[in-house]
């Protein structure tokens, strides 16, 4: 089965450090999404890309978060500097040409900022 690959699986870091999460979408999927999941807020859409171009990043705190797609096989989400409130599970998902087919989610990166 094709899958979305996220690395690292778990990350513990100290407040103030830079964190980079990576996502390899399914080959041929041109739409990539970043979600954050917390107990309090549930699933929040942070940003998404189509054909590597950012379409919407309104859900992302701009002062510390940044999302990029250096190429079609890699999406990155960076937090600099990290804060304890960033602790969450970050999911990447990909879809072929939009959401009509449903998204395929990666296994997530569990981030803990201490």
């Amino acid at each position: 089965d094709a899958r979305v690959t996220q690395t690292p699986r778990d990350k513990v870091t100290e407040m103030g450090q830079e964190v980079t999460m990576r996502c390899q979408p399914i080959l041929g999927h041109n739409t990539v999404f970043w979600y954050r999941q917390t107990m309090m807020q549930g699933l929040e859409l942070l940003a998404y890309f189509r054909n590597r171009a950012p379409l919407d990043d309104s859900g992302m705190p701009k002062d510390r978060f940044s999302a990029e797609m250096p190429d079609a096989t890699l999406a990155t989400l960076k937090i600099q500097p990290s804060e304890p409130r960033d602790s969450a599970v970050y999911f990447c998902a990909s879809a072929p040409g939009g959401s009509n087919y449903g998204y395929t989610f990666g296994s997530g990166t569990r981030l803990t900022v201490v």
Binding site: L43, Y48, D56, G98
Partner: protein
């Protein structure tokens, strides 16, 4: 703005009981609707989806959902739950531009 509301935050059932999880959405246009399941410690997996046609949609693992346009609802059902159905269930609707908006999720606990 589009939104999705799941009425039940936590549902506890015994094995073999019937399940119905509520989902309502607010969106005036054509919608695509989804149910995802997240087993403990795992990622979200697609259970079923509705795009058009028959409003009764059958998914994996014996789940089904019915789209009722007049009620803006897309409730998930299963006639007889199993302990292995213990998970969190998310209803979602796509909006213009392809964004998938999720409800807050319903945690289902099935007692053996």
């Amino acid at each position: 703005a589009q939104s999705v509301s799941q009425h039940n935050h936590h549902v506890i059932l015994s094995e073999a009981a019937s399940l119905e999880l509520g989902c309502n959405y607010s969106y005036g246009g054509t919608v695509n609707l989804f149910w995802y399941v997240q087993y403990p410690g795992q990622h979200l997996q697609l259970l079923l989806k509705y795009f058009s046609g028959d409003p009764l949609v059958k998914g994996i693992k014996g789940f089904e959902a019915e789209f009722i346009k007049s009620k803006f609802s897309f409730n998930l059902r299963k006639p007889s739950v199993q302990w292995s159905d213990t998970a969190e269930y998310f209803c979602a609707v796509n909006s213009q531009g392809g964004k998938l908006i999720f409800g807050q999720g319903t945690e289902l606990s099935v007692k053996p």
